[in-house]
């Protein structure tokens, strides 16, 4: 009798489990199907195509193995574009993270009209990259540009200064526009995390005699770690994919050309489609690996300690 009841209970449990599993599968199905159709399958197809020679000027699409990947190792233009890209990433991610956290902390202190400040801050991010770049193109203009006019007003010798005639000032000019566009996102992500920190932690710290910097480093920073990791991941991926700013401001200029412009030239100018695909895959892999480092590091510090 007891055994029969137990068997029935087991069967009911299994049925419920099965029902939960089916429900779970149904609930994740839309995202799984979407990811398969729009990410996994195209990625697989791109990987497969990158192992072939796909150039409409040449007959057939023969399998060439890792030929495209080997080619990029000896491609001087690609090498130079990678160096430029790494410089962009290093500057953009560090500046966006540091200024993003500080700006978020500042906005977090504002009690009245915060929504208006946020709306103003988010505007550059809301604008298309090309629009931002064209605005800055006018700002950087040698003759009537705003930047030169401001510097001249301060008595500095910047009349008709051409910012893009020097590689380093040109790169700086490009990355400033990128930071201008992406910084708001970092601020918003970090600010959201800051607002979720319970106030009583600060009150307790205050009673214990902690100073504001001590509260920032011992309470705020550790508790926004995950958000900072997300913001840095986003900043890294965006900086690796820098295109609009470099293209609008400096075109194919060798000194400022990032890897994505190089990919564009290889694909749409030189019609080496599979080489462009191989370069794109390497770019994706590298930006994901770098992002993963941030995520894992912050995950450990915030979860395991």
């Amino acid at each position: 009798m007891t055994a029969a009841v137990a068997t029935r209970a087991d069967a009911a449990g299994r049925t419920a489990l099965k029902g939960d599993a089916v429900l779970g599968l149904l609930m994740v199905a839309p995202i799984v199907i979407t990811m398969l159709a729009l990410v996994i399958v195209p990625l697989g197809q791109t990987l497969w195509d990158s192992l072939h020679r796909i150039n409409p000027m040449q007959a057939g699409t023969p399998f060439i193995g890792a030929g495209n990947y080997a080619r990029m190792l000896g491609d001087a233009d690609v090498g130079r574009a990678w160096i430029n890209t790494v410089i962009y990433v290093a500057i953009a991610v560090s500046v966006e993270t540091v200024i993003g956290i500080l700006a978020a902390a500042l906005i977090n202190q504002v009690k009245v009209g915060r929504q208006w400040i946020l709306a103003a801050v988010i505007l550059p991010w809301a604008l298309p990259g090309v629009v931002n770049s064209v605005i800055w193109l006018f700002i950087y203009q040698p003759g009537a540009g705003l930047l030169n006019a401001i510097l001249v007003a301060f008595g500095l010798p910047f009349e008709n200064h051409v910012w893009f005639n020097d590689r380093w000032s040109a790169m700086l000019a490009v990355v400033v526009v990128h930071i201008w566009r992406m910084l708001p996102l970092t601020i918003v992500i970090v600010l959201a995390a800051m607002q979720s920190i319970p106030l009583h932690l600060y009150e307790a710290a205050h009673i214990d005699g902690a100073t504001r910097p001590q509260m920032f480093f011992t309470i705020t920073l550790p508790l926004i770690g995950s958000a900072v990791a997300v913001a840095m991941t986003n900043a890294t991926v965006a900086a690796f994919n820098i295109f609009d700013e470099a293209w609008v401001l400096a075109g194919a200029n060798l000194g400022t050309r990032p890897i994505l412009v190089q990919i564009y030239l290889e694909t749409f100018q030189n019609l080496r489609f599979s080489y462009g695909m191989a370069l794109s895959l390497v770019l994706t892999a590298i930006s994901l690996i770098v992002s993963l480092v941030f995520v894992l590091r912050f995950y450990r510090t915030t979860r395991f300690e």
Binding site: P56, M57, G143, N160, V162, A250, L254, F268, Q269, L271
Partner: protein, 418 residues
């Protein structure tokens, strides 16, 4: 009543008899085609073409630089970006190799091909892939008032005279930077260097496409050195390293800030002498391209109309190409700044006194050569980018002219490997 019936019968019979003839005149009437061309184009194109053929046109315009990526994205996918598209001279090698466009030999009559001399540039392996519609060969444009104000009465025929005149204009304070010269990493910088290479009496490549611009005594090397010399002498605005040719035309020459456009576009004459579009209206004229020897040379940068093989309306599309390149439309369309490609249309405009600097244009047109007499190579875009990026770097002082020409030659050899 009987009379009315008779009249009705006659009218209906006439209509029935005329219908096949009408259908023959306008065999594609009612069809709608898409056309993709660079902006701006005449707003009257669609209405006039429909009136002539009964074919409706959905005319799409994009900036010239944006057209190529759109074409390639569609063509590589096996679809037609439009039924008729822009087809630049510099794409002929690549697009012919890719076999994306319909040969028009059977559709375009021999008389038209003869009247449009530039058709040869678009004929690859005997296949006519595009019919030129805009005659973009190069002359030099000068602001005659600047020259007169500087006390210069003679027109410069040599490159040395040109530089000397520019120095006088600068010294007299008429223009701070008298020479308009694009040095940005854009196609306009490349095409100017090609023109100066011709002006120095040379070619870019030999018959086997081996670079002919690497030694210091070669025309290409000297052309680049000449450009850098103009820049270093303060005759060219240092900001030219970031300016496209169109920007120099619109924001400098049209406003009277420069006196000489080295690589002048004949089609710009109308714009430059239109008071609504330029401050220098009435001051601008074309001169023959100044060269080292004094004997002018030029080359064609023609743009054509072509029909993708993937077009579903090839017949109607060909009708558009024929209409757009007809003598009548070319004469009419000159008003919007498009210089005719037909010799007969050019002559008609000149005879009517409508062609600005007409005598110079007709004279220069006799010396227009193909940039690549062997046919535009498939690696042309790669070569062009190597030219303008290295010229840009040399202009900024990042590399020497020696390094620039060596880099360009290396890029060509690498591009030829595939």
């Amino acid at each position: 009543m009987r009379r009315r019936l008779l009249l009705t019968t006659i009218a209906l019979s006439s209509l029935l008899l005329a219908a096949p003839a009408l259908a023959q005149d306008k065999p594609y009437a009612g069809t709608t085609i898409t056309v993709l061309m660079p902006s701006p184009q005449s707003p009257e194109i669609a209405a006039k073409f429909e009136a002539a053929t009964g074919i409706k046109v959905d005319l799409q315009t994009l900036s010239w630089d944006d057209i190529r990526p759109k074409l390639i994205a569609a063509l590589i996918a096996g679809t037609a970006p439009a039924d008729v598209t822009e087809f630049d001279w510099s794409w002929t090698g690549q697009f012919a190799a890719a076999d994306w466009y319909l040969p028009l030999n059977d559709a375009i009559d021999a008389e038209t091909v003869k009247d449009i001399a530039g058709s040869t540039i678009f004929t690859i392996n005997g296949k006519l892939l595009g019919v030129p519609y805009t005659n973009d060969f190069r002359v030099m444009l000068i602001n005659r008032k600047h020259f007169t104000d500087a006390g210069i009465t003679d027109t410069p025929k040599t490159l040395a005279e040109l530089m000397a005149d520019a120095k006088i204009i600068k010294e007299k304070g008429i223009a701070e930077y008298p020479v308009g010269l694009p040095l940005s990493p854009t196609e306009g910088a490349s095409t100017t260097w090609y023109l100066l290479t011709k002006a120095f009496g040379g070619e870019l490549f030999d018959a086997d496409f081996k670079p002919a611009f690497t030694t210091p005594d070669s025309a290409g090397y000297r052309a680049m050195a000449y450009e850098i010399e103009l820049l270093k002498a303060g005759l060219v605005d240092p900001a030219a390293t970031g300016l496209r040719d169109a920007q120099i035309n619109d924001e400098y020459f049209a406003k009277g800030l420069t006196s000489i456009m080295i690589s002048g576009e004949p089609g710009r004459l109308g714009q430059m002498n239109d008071p609504a579009q330029a401050k220098v209206a009435g001051q601008v004229e074309a001169i023959l391209v100044a060269t080292e020897s004094g004997q002018t040379r030029s080359y064609g940068l023609l743009e054509a109309l072509a029909v993708p093989k993937a077009s579903a309306n090839q017949g109607a599309a060909i009708e558009f190409v024929k209409w757009f390149t007809s003598k009548e439309w070319q004469v009419e369309n000159y008003g919007t700044g498009v210089l005719p490609t037909r010799t007969s249309a050019l002559a008609a405009l000149n005879d009517a006194g409508k062609l600005q600097s007409g005598d110079v244009l007709v004279e220069e047109s006799k010396y227009v050569e193909a940039l690549f007499p062997q046919g535009t190579p498939t690696w042309y875009p790669e070569f062009s980018t190597a030219v303008n990026t290295n010229l840009n770097s040399a202009a900024k002082g990042e590399i020497t002219v020696d390094q620039a020409v060596a880099n360009i030659a290396t890029a060509v050899e690498e591009a030829k490997v595939e």
